[in-house]
Symmetry: C2
Subunit: 558 residues, 2 copies
Amino acid sequence: MAFKTDIQIAREAAKRPIQEIGAKLGISSDDLLPYGHDKAKVSQSFIDSVQDRANGKLILVTAINPTPAGEGKTTTTVGLGDGLNRIGKKAAVCIREASLGPNFGMKGGAAGGGYAQVVPMEEMNLHFTGDFHAITSAHNLLAAMIDNHIYWGNELEIDTRRVTWRRVVDMNDRALRQITASLGGVPNGFPRETGFDITVASEVMAILCLAKNLTDLQERLGAMIVAYRRDRSPVYARDIKADGAMTVLLKDAMQPNLVQTLENNPAFVHGGPFANIAHGCNSVIATTTALKLADYVVTEAGFGADLGAEKFMNIKCRKAGLAPSVVVVVATVRAMKMNGGVAKADLGTENVEAVQQGCANLGRHIENVKSFGVPVVVAINHFVTDTDAEVAAVKEYVAAQGAEAILSRHWELGSEGSADLATRVAEIADGDHANFAPLYADEMPLFEKIETIAKRVYRADEVLADQKVRNQLKDWEAQGYGDLPVCMAKTQYSFSTDPDLRGAPTGFSVPIREVRLSAGAGFVVVICGEIMTMPGLPRVPSAEAIKLNADGDVEGLF
Amino acid sequence: MAFKTDIQIAREAAKRPIQEIGAKLGISSDDLLPYGHDKAKVSQSFIDSVQDRANGKLILVTAINPTPAGEGKTTTTVGLGDGLNRIGKKAAVCIREASLGPNFGMKGGAAGGGYAQVVPMEEMNLHFTGDFHAITSAHNLLAAMIDNHIYWGNELEIDTRRVTWRRVVDMNDRALRQITASLGGVPNGFPRETGFDITVASEVMAILCLAKNLTDLQERLGAMIVAYRRDRSPVYARDIKADGAMTVLLKDAMQPNLVQTLENNPAFVHGGPFANIAHGCNSVIATTTALKLADYVVTEAGFGADLGAEKFMNIKCRKAGLAPSVVVVVATVRAMKMNGGVAKADLGTENVEAVQQGCANLGRHIENVKSFGVPVVVAINHFVTDTDAEVAAVKEYVAAQGAEAILSRHWELGSEGSADLATRVAEIADGDHANFAPLYADEMPLFEKIETIAKRVYRADEVLADQKVRNQLKDWEAQGYGDLPVCMAKTQYSFSTDPDLRGAPTGFSVPIREVRLSAGAGFVVVICGEIMTMPGLPRVPSAEAIKLNADGDVEGLF
């Protein structure tokens, strides 16, 4: 049986003008700022005008720990959104924007897959509406103003060895990871070491995704720490007087982007912070706006539930006052098998026992999500090689955990394949069974917050941290940052910090290498292991094959 | 008498939906890709569909050598366009896009001024439709691919000391002028010296503005020289296999942007190459498209006529097969006075004698433009302090040169003030008096081309160049680049290379410091004096005062 590729399906989509999609949510043409005929930003004035409305139900899609087999989280998010619309509900999906740079390394990521996709796929993988470019500009304006301040006399007494604000570019460019800048003599400033990260790693990205409105955005931008003095006192972006101009550069980017699914249902695609050094969710403003306009909003969080759902709950929901009504944990039979020890090459062979063994990973995620007081549904994202016995094994296991697993065939059939899942999810959401609370209180000391996540979510025995890290956390508490949530940066492949430890490991420690304060975003980043903030290109980058074909279509990007 | 500021006037503009503006040129809504309600790109498919139509008349607006008094070239371009529409002609203007970075240094440049402006002014000074971001991305993708090629084994045998391709950012950031990259050990590559230019200095910008279509764009991108081997043989962008992906990144940016004047007439705003190391004109594709849609197209070129008009004729028109019907040289009484030796502080006092002396600068420009076989009209851009006697002095002088000077009051009155100018310009254009030819033939040796411009346009006695420069030019001729035009990079303030030598100097030499080959753009850059390709920010950058006010309007940018 020959399947069409994602891009073939996307190009055959019968897209409707974006004004028609907006109308489904009650957004008039005047309140949509179009970008071409199939993308639009929702105007800030319209967003302001709907703030008094009641919220719809918030549905989070998360997943087991990712494996090379793929779990299809975005695909399920889109499929569930279409399924809800199919059964007569007014639903919208909220997902993240794609970063430009990585698409030129490996083939670009689609927004969903099969018959559960968001379009226009090409533009979403290229410049889209320019949000990331605006973030790059705002970030680099601040960087230029810092060096300019030093150049003209350094009134703030910045220690040039302690400038923490780097520059960003939305490109995989390892040559820029570490540089010496301001070379060339007096007219170019004071030489110092610095470097570039990829744009999605910018604290500006995290802030754009957490800010409630433009006023909040500017305050958070001003609160970012950009450098320290010799006496270790921090220098803030507002000291550099960059916060106003950065806000101006970001004012359009703050408006959420509206596009459509293959089935012409509304999809907000906005923001894309890293899921390790940041919180990995689409923007608060997109989610809160969607909740004012739709009865059901389906959104997702990065990586597996141990990182993604945890941060969604403890950072995004806490900060934005959101509460999910139900959480969907996506699992695939293939990923269960890999968690059960099967190699990727053998995934096509039925292996019920491996499925059963791999289910332990799923089981722990179910238990974790429940601990936030939110009901759980498991979506088995169907793959053609799945056998009935394997699917039955997952269902049985999940039932034994006191939850329900539903087979969903949105990839193959669109909303026809996800109607069952949608029906059940809507029932649970309508039942108002959730009693959401974050896992820890704001007042808990920072180190205890880390321990809480490590022990209750990851099931580690202990957290290892040297005195320097512990003292740093205490210093921040003394400076008034103790009420911030923590943002864990660890491997997404395991509950532990060892990517090869699949399933549901126990008896391990979580070593903390470093802690960083994102004072503007409002969290303390806890780094456990290597975190790469500037990727490189592979030996043969996909860029070499990307081109326009004779029809003017993009080739090689997907 | 209190005048409104440009931004006050721009904010009071009664803008029409961009679809209405497009309709004036016969562009349907389907063929316009809107960016918000007041900006749009004209689709490539529409552009393809009008190629068989006859061309309208092309009118170039150029100016005397700029002085701190200001000459109002863009204002006159816009005012003349509105004037032509007022007298019943179907006219469009074509101007350049603004660079983002410099707006955060000094207050941003409006697109025109007074009642002769293009709107939306704010967005044109911020991200606009993202063209410059696309150029930045394409440029930096190539840079990343070059270092990536070296990292993975350097099959092309690039001499890492001779990588000529730098990186770009649309920001005034002197700290990036000269850097050492790829520091940090094995995973980050081979350390080497490099740096950043501002985006408008990118050869990609020049190419975007000279390419006829996407095929031509990709060919030119591939032809760019990015590095040399130890044997001095060039490595091209196509050797790096970056040309296809760069074209994909630029495919939207290649489509011209349509906006409107304050009087709701169509304006194309597209491209913005440097006027020193590049040719300083808006894009060929915008100009050629406008010529298919309007009966009169008013466009401008950077700096004074010695640089701007010369390059417009010898580079843009030569390469694009364009021929102007009439050239408007903008002069102001104030600028004439400064050319006549008056200090800026004394410009408010009547001084007919200084005006007469300063007219020598204008006279030489008139003569130069005529030497291209194109009729000349002088537009005296009226300023409130001008006296009747001063204006009369300019008119008399110009009449004595066998041309005509017309007072135009578009800044104060809009098209009502420029109707006389428009009437005369249209008459001359309709008379088909032009017999355009570039100043030199393709076959002329490169050094002779430089001499031709220096002697016939600048009126220098001689061109000074050491043997190294002369040999370099001969080498390029041997390599097949001898038929390229030359692109002069010298001060815009004087016919000579000394910015303080105003008026119509004689008895000077033009020393050549360096020559560079822009093999993709298709010209040889001839550098006479210091050329800054990465500006810095001033002690108090305007960014410090830029912010959103309580109404959500941008403050401090203008």
